[in-house]
Structure formats: C-alpha cells, structure tokens
C-alpha cells in the first residue's frame, strides 16, 4: 500500500491566488523524496496538504489508504494514528516549539496519545540521548541556538516513532556543523528504520543527502517533472526554467561569457576559454 | 491603572474574584464553542501582544508620552470576549511575574481593564462604526471614542472600588483599613486623570492602529468572534451591572440610616408592624395580625435573615454593611451559576434541534 496518493490536487489559501494546480503523484514506503521549486512555487503548501493541515479545494490526498479529510482526522483510531505516524518538521522552530521546557516539548505528543507515564519518561531519556541534547532537558526553547532548537524539534517528532517525516527547508538558517549533523541523523534514520522522508527545499546541495527521487514545481504551481534526483540535477534546462539555478554572466577582458551555473559539491573549476 | 495589594479589602476583592470567575468560565465556553482549537494559541500570543503594546510610548499633545492599556484595540481585533481573556492573562502575568498590580487585586484589575474597558469601548466602536464600509472614517473615530470612553469607564469603576473602602472597612475608631479616600475624592481623582489624559492616550493609540489596519488590511477589522447569539449578549452587561450593584449595596443601608428612616413600607417584621399599627389606630395600641404571627413561627427560616449573618441582625452599621456585601456576592454567584446552567441546557436543546435537520447549514457554526 502506498504511503501517499495525491490526485489532481488544486489548492489556494483562503483569499489568495492558487498555490497548487493539478498536482498528482504517489509515494511508496521507504522512499526518499524531495519537492524542488523556487520560493512561492507551492512546495511547503504540498507538505501542509500531506500532513492534513489544509485540505484541497479539488482533487484528493490519500494517506495509508484513507482519504484525508477534516472528519477523517477527527475520528479515532485513524486520526491519532495518522498524527503519530507522520511528523512535520516546520521551517521556523519558533512555531514548532511552543512548550515551556524541552522536556515538556518532547512529552507533548506522547501525552496526546495517552501513553503511560513510565513509558513517556523512558522515551524522553532515550530520545534526548539520541540527539545529544540531554543537557537541555530543563531549558526553555527560546533561549537555545538555531541548531539546538532544530534538534529539539526533531526530537519532539521522533519520540513517537513516526514512519514518515515531512521536512520543510530543514537546513534553513543553520550553521554548517548543525546542518551536517541534521543530515547525518536523517540518513541514519532512513537506513536503519526505512523511514519515508519527504523534503521541500530550493537548495539543490541537499539533494544527494536527502532524496533519491525529486518532484519539480514550477513558478506557476504545476508539477513539471517527477524523476530520479540524479536525472533532475543534470537536466539543466529544466532547472533554469523553474528558477532553481541561474544563468551566470562574467567578463574576461573583452569577452562576455554566459552559462548556467550551479555547484553541487565542492570543487575547483576552470573555464576553458580563449 | 494597576491596583496593588493593600488598597482593597477582602469585602471588595473577593466579590471581584467571584464575578471574574463567572465571566472567565463564560468566556472560555464561548471561545471554545465558536472558534474551535485555532484560537487557543492565538489567545496566548494575543496576551503577549497585549502585554508588549502596554510598553509602547504613545506621543500625545503637550509633548509628553503615555502608555495605553490597549484593551479596546484588542477587542476590535479579537472581539470583546476574547479580549477579556487575552487582557486578563496579560494582567495575571504582570501581577505574578513582574509585580505590576497586586495578587489579591487581580480580580478587581481584570474587572476594570479586561471587562469594563474592552466591552464599553467595543460597544461604542460598534455603535459608531456600525456596518459602514471598511474605509469609512467612522472606524477610526469609533476606535478613538471607544478607547477614550472605555478607559474612563474603567477608571470610574476603579474609583468606586477605592471609594467604598472607608465606608465598608474601618477599625473600631473609624479609621480606614485600606484605601483611606472616600468616594468624593477617589472617584473624581480617577475620573479626571483618565478623562483628560490617559483616556486621550488610549483613544489616540486605538484610532491610529485602526486607521493603519483600514489602510493595509481591512479584513482584520471584521469581528472575529460570533456575537450573534442574542441571549448571551446580555450576560456581560448583566454581570457587570450586578458586580457594580453588589459593591454599591451598602449604600442601601447607609442612606436610610442617615435619614433615620425605618424599614420600607410593607416590609415590616412582627415587631415593626406592631408599632406601625399603633400609629394609625385611635387607641394607639398596636397588635400583630394572626396570619403574620403564624407565618413567622412556622414558616421558612432564611439562612441570612435581613441580609445579615444569623445573630447579627441588630449589629452596628459597619458589620451590617459587610454582611450586606457578602449577601450580595453570594446571591450573585448563585444567580450566575443558575444562569449558566440554564443557558447550557438551552444551548444543548438548540444543538439537538439543529443536528436533527440534515439540510440545515447554519452560518453561525
């Protein structure tokens, strides 16, 4: 059974222009998927729809065989089970960390699931240790650094052992060390547990770390490509047309040089020219 | 206008808490029902917003600056019931964490700044702005006058709270135990300061922010809480009026005592009726009608006869005053719960009626 099935979805936020026009695709368990697109192309919106936070005006979103509607999510057992199985890592940690201490933050989801207190405390210990934030247990989230906040946010999702993680620009605003730590954790999770990862980003450098398959959204909110990450990365014309890379102009003496330009990994390069 | 501890005695702050408890419960029930889960974090953040705007410096004519409470503004943006909750939370945090306002005075402060101010200000705004288009000047004008009137009304109630202290709480020698200034000083002092200065600050701040939203985001001015339920709309007015009346209740003892008048006509006890009858009969011999005698002997024995604690019916005026207020407060709490119970039963009947008709799509939900 596929994890998600999106069928001809059209969505617009109330009072705004459409964010998604006729998007369709399927997600299988254990896949690593990325939504690529420039800012405003609708990738975050797509994640919100997958998490049942908003509902499409046309078309349908099906998760684990159930159609995602407001009524379906209010009804146990599917509602609470869905919330447990799908975790959403928001772009801005300030919205995601709304409890008074890190410990309470981690306890929030398990308490909503009515787990026994002993189990909850055990899981809190384990999760804090996994993400190396045990020393932050009694701290208030707003006083933590960006990287620490991200780890606390991730911990608050992982504690209930979801099978799907939705990530919205996960490395935005993080320093290099925190970025690499986060990417490492996600890779480990996928390798060891077969977790389905769906990332929304405009940063192409993340692609090799987070995705095997990429869906590209154009600036007019349509799905224009659905292929392996490798193929998408080498499709320069496509990337140019959706504003994920830029055409680059520079001068050498009297010669003007124009070529599409993107670096995925560190490398030295020379331009062959006369 | 944050009242500290020690200014109000328990005879005032306890009834204030009682009134606020009833209003908070009603407010939470309303918000939960009409706005669902979405508003819960918004209330908390709205309280943080309300707190922070109290720190903004607002320039006023004369070259000085002042601070606004912002309760009327919050009412225009969130609706009056949500504003009551939002400002209450801000005030509670101010009192507990920052010592701005007393802890025993939380009830009274919330009554003044989270109930009187936003409700009166909001009603004024609605009356002036009505259903005029979003760009009409009546909106910011309504905001200005609403802010000014709302704060002045709050100051009036605060002045009354101060003013009755010497009347209802003094020691054996007649010295005031709490705020020492009577109504003749407290009320004018509070009114003048707020009418002339702080109310203007409030009005200016409210007007300018409303104008800002008129220019940039007119849809935010739409009232966010559904206030269409007619019966419930009377409750805040009622509760407020009751609260004020309870606090003023001792006047009903003081004034007659001042004029040496006896009980109201027709409300005599058996002793009093004897002397009344004596006045009108030619033989000047009073008697107690048999029916009355029997009723007194075998009838219902009230728990608080003559609104006084049992055994204290003939005590001196200060003791009686205290009991009077206590009786009023007890009566209010009982009435409040009865009203809420009835409203709840009525609402449940309404809901059952609505769900039974499948095609009915209520615009209110």
């Amino acid at each position: 059974m596929s994890v998600f099935n999106i069928d001809q979805v059209h969505f617009a936020y109330p009072g705004h222009d459409p964010s998604l026009c006729g998007v369709s695709f399927t997600v299988e368990p254990g896949e690593r998927l990325a939504f690529l697109g420039a800012n405003g192309s609708g990738k975050s919106t797509l994640l919100h729809l997958l998490d049942g936070l908003y509902f499409p005006q046309q078309g349908s979103v099906t998760a684990f065989g159930h159609c995602l509607t407001e009524e379906a999510l209010e009804r146990p057992p599917f509602g609470p089970q869905f919330r447990k199985d799908v975790g959403f890592l928001f772009q801005h940690s300030d919205a995601q960390l709304f409890c008074a201490t890190v410990e309470e933050e981690l306890a929030f989801a398990p308490l909503q699931l009515h787990w026994p207190k002993a189990e909850i405390y055990q899981r809190i210990d384990d999760t804090l240790r996994l993400l190396e934030i045990a020393h932050l247990r009694d701290r208030t989230p707003q006083n933590l650094s960006g990287g620490e906040k991200k780890r606390v946010a991730l911990a608050s999702l992982l504690i209930v052992n979801p099978s799907v993680l939705l990530l919205d620009e996960p490395t935005a605003g993080l320093d290099p060390r925190s970025q690499s730590m986060l990417l490492e954790i996600l890779e480990q999770l996928h390798e060891q547990t077969g977790m389905t990862l769906i990332t929304a980003t405009h940063d192409l450098t993340l692609l090799p770390h987070l995705a095997d398959r990429a869906l590209v959204l154009s600036e007019d909110h349509r799905l224009v490509a659905d292929d392996s990450a490798h193929a998408i990365l080498h499709n320069t014309d496509l990337l140019l047309s959706v504003n994920l890379i830029h055409a680059h102009t520079h001068r050498h003496g009297d010669v003007v040089h124009r070529h599409p330009h993107h670096h995925i990994t560190e490398h030295e390069h020379t331009h062959p020219h006369e | 206008m944050h009242i500290p501890d020690g200014y109000l005695g328990p005879q005032t702050y306890l009834p204030a808490f009682a009134v606020m408890t009833a209003l908070w419960s009603a407010g939470i029930a309303r918000v939960k029902k009409t706005l669902r889960l979405k508003q819960v974090p918004l209330l908390a953040l709205g309280a943080a917003f309300s707190f922070v705007i109290m720190l903004f410096n607002v320039p006023i004519p004369g070259g000085t600056t002042g601070h606004a409470v912002g309760a009327v503004l919050v009412a225009i943006l969130f609706g009056p019931w949500a504003a009551m909750l939002v400002v209450s939370i801000a005030l509670i945090v101010q009192a507990l964490i920052f010592g701005d306002g007393g802890i025993t005075a939380i009830g009274a402060n919330c009554l003044n700044m989270a109930v009187v101010c936003p409700f009166i200000g909001w009603w004024t705004y609605r009356i002036i702005a009505g259903s005029s288009p979003a760009q009409s000047a009546r909106h910011w004008l309504g905001g200005a006058i609403g802010g000014w009137l709302g704060l002045t009304a709050a100051a009036l109630v605060a002045g009354l709270e101060f003013g009755i202290q010497p009347l209802i709480a003094h020691d054996a020698a007649g010295r005031a135990l709490y705020c020492p200034f009577g109504m003749s000083i407290a009320v004018p002092a509070m009114l003048i300061g707020h009418f002339l200065v702080f109310g203007i600050v409030e009005g200016i701040a409210t007007a300018f922010v409303v104008a800002y939203f008129q220019r940039t985001a007119p849809d935010m001015l739409a009232v966010t809480i559904n206030t269409a339920r007619a019966p419930l709309a009377l409750v805040p007015k009622l509760a407020l009026g009751l609260g004020i009346l309870v606090l003023l209740a001792p006047l009903g003892l003081i004034i007659p005592a001042h004029f040496h008048s006896g009980s109201a006509w027709g409300e005599w006890s058996s002793q009093e009726i004897k002397s009344e009858v004596a006045k009108i009969t030619t033989s000047h011999q009073g008697y107690v009608p048999q029916g009355l005698q029997q009723a007194e002997a075998h009838g219902w024995k009230a728990p608080m006869p003559d609104y006084a604690l049992p055994g204290q019916e003939d005590a001196k005026l200060p003791v009686l005053s205290r009991s009077y207020v206590l009786a009023g407060a007890i009566g209010m709490v009982v009435m409040g719960f009865l009203i809420l119970l009835i409203m709840k039963l009525l609402a449940r009947k309404e809901d059952e009626g609505a769900t039974s008709s499948v095609d009915a799509r209520s615009p209110l939900v």
Binding site: F88, A95, A100 | I28, A48, L55, N57, P59, G70, T104
Partner: protein
C-alpha cells in the same frame, strides 16, 4: 547597471536636500529609547527571577504548589490583619525566608521605593487632618480665614496621629504583600509557578495559556525591540506628532500581524502533533516532607497573625 547620477556624485553625500536638518528633538528620540528601556528592563527582570530560582535555597526546595498555597494565603491574611506589630512580624518572616533562599538584599529593598509612585500622591494627603481627623501631631500651615474658596477649612493644616497610623499601616501592608509575591516568583521557575496555580483550582486551559504567553513573551519583546531599533537608526530630523503617532500605530500593527501569523503557525504545529483540544500535563512529583513543613510554618504563623491582629 546604470546608477543614477546623484549616487555617482560622491560630493552629494554630505549635502542635504531641502531645509537644514536640526538635531533630533530630545523628546522624540526618547520616545523610542524609552520604550527600548522598558523592553530591556522586562527581559532583565525575567532573567533575574530565573537566576535566583536556580540557586539552592530554602524556598527553592519547596514544591511550587505548596508555595502558591502558602504564600498567597499569607498575602490574603495580611489583608485581614490590621495591627502594625502583626504586619511588622510578617515582614520579619519574609526577610527570614528571603535570607534563607539566597535572595539578595538589593532585591528586597527595591520593594520599598517601588511601592508605586501614585501611592505617595495618595498617601501624603491621608496624613492630614482634612482627610483623617484625629489628634494633631504636627502643624503644617495656619489658615487665616475659615473658608478657602468654596471649602470650609479647619484652623490649621496638621498631620494627625490617626493619619500617621493609616498611612503607616497602608505602606507596611503593601510592602508585606509585594515582598510575599516576590518570594513566590523569585524562587520558582516561571513555568512551574504557573503549574503550581493548579493547586488553587486554576483550570488547565488557563495554565496552558499563561505558560504559552510567557514562553513567547521574549519573542514578542525582541520583535518590538527590532521595530524600535529600526526607528532609532533612521531618525534624522524632527517629525510632527501625528507622524510619530502613526509610526507607533504601525509598530503595533506590525506586531499584531506577527501575532496572527505566529498564532496560525503554532496552531498547525500543535495539530500536527496530535492536539485535539484536551490538555495533558506531565505529573508533578509528590509532595515531600519539606513541603508539608513549609505549609505548617505558614499556617501556624497565619493563625497567630489572625489571633493577634
């Protein structure tokens, strides 16, 4: 890229356009700076409380629920007693608790002048015989005529013993109440303080709203600071009052939009983690011997106070 000529002409950097610029008016610069001052003080206060709450002292050991019941109970008792000696004794107990809980003396003493300013304005007239009649202690002014305008005046304006008593009782009572509140908030981390209110029957929803509000307070103060800082850095010349008011309003408006946006985002985050409207809290640990001992002290003392005063 074609830059406009006035950008290329480096000399025009120093020239002014239009009327000569006068230095920013004192009071208008102060408008933004004063607000910044309040924000800074607010954050400082939050931090100071957390620092003391982190120390190891007597009151820090007591469960917040016991402190809430005990200390707020004492505040209520303080409003019920009227003897100066009883109130003074209560203040003594406060000082004792403060000393045992590593609360710096500075913090304690700050209570006295901080008894709000309008207190002084209220209290000074209460000393006088025109407000509180009694036996005169000190004559301030002799009136020559029995009437001052429309009011009838006594022969002299004096400070009376009753007036003195009323004022001293008032000040002492307020100081005791404020100190007790200080003991509560300075020795308890804020989120545990709000949870402790459950002991007084405060509903869970309120506790959640209070702690969420406090948790986001710093976020909002920082946002407000940014708004004011932007204003200070751009203040060049005097603008009229209306512009200033419009600016303050825009600042409030911007802050409100932030409120709405953040409120929506937090709501989504809560829903995403399974929130359906019910609030569950992690349990507080059981009451210990220290908590009962503290309550015993407080209840005993309160009884003594009520008996005596």
């Amino acid at each position: 890229m074609q830059l406009p000529p006035w950008m290329l002409d480096r000399r025009s950097c120093n020239a002014t356009v239009g009327a000569p610029v006068s230095p920013p008016a004192h009071r208008q610069h102060n408008l933004a700076r004063n607000a910044m001052g309040s924000f800074a003080r607010l954050l400082e206060e939050l931090l100071a409380n957390e620092t003391i709450a982190a120390r190891s002292g007597l009151l820090q050991l007591v469960d917040p629920r016991a402190k809430v019941i005990g200390l707020i109970g004492l505040i209520v008792v303080a409003t019920l007693v009227h003897q100066l000696t009883t109130l003074a004794l209560c203040y003594g107990l406060c000082v004792l608790f403060a000393v045992c809980s590593a609360i710096p003396a500075r913090r304690l003493l700050r209570v006295w002048p901080a008894i709000p300013l309008f207190s002084a304005a209220i209290m000074l007239p209460a000393l006088l015989n025109v407000v509180t009649p009694g036996h005169s202690l000190l004559t301030l002014w002799q009136f020559s005529a029995p009437h001052f305008g429309p009011w009838q005046v006594p022969p002299a304006l004096t400070i009376t013993d009753s007036g003195l008593l009323v004022v001293m009782r008032f000040i002492l009572r307020t100081a005791v109440c404020v100190t007790l509140a200080l003991l509560l908030t300075a020795t308890t981390p804020t989120h545990r303080l709000f949870r402790g209110l459950r002991a007084l029957g405060v509903p869970k929803l309120f506790v959640m709203l209070l702690s969420m509000m406090e948790r986001y307070l710093t976020v909002f103060v920082q946002a407000a600071e940014e708004i004011h800082l932007a204003k200070i850095s751009r203040a060049i010349a005097v603008t009229d009052m209306r512009r200033e008011q419009a600016w303050v309003a825009a600042g409030m408006g911007a802050l409100f939009r932030r409120t709405q946006a953040l409120g929506d985002a937090v709501y989504l985050a809560m829903i995403s983690r399974g929130y359906t409207g019910d609030i569950y809290l992690l349990e507080e640990p059981r009451w210990q011997v220290t908590d009962w001992a503290f309550l015993m002290i407080v209840v005993g003392f309160a009884t003594v106070m009520l008996m005596v005063g």
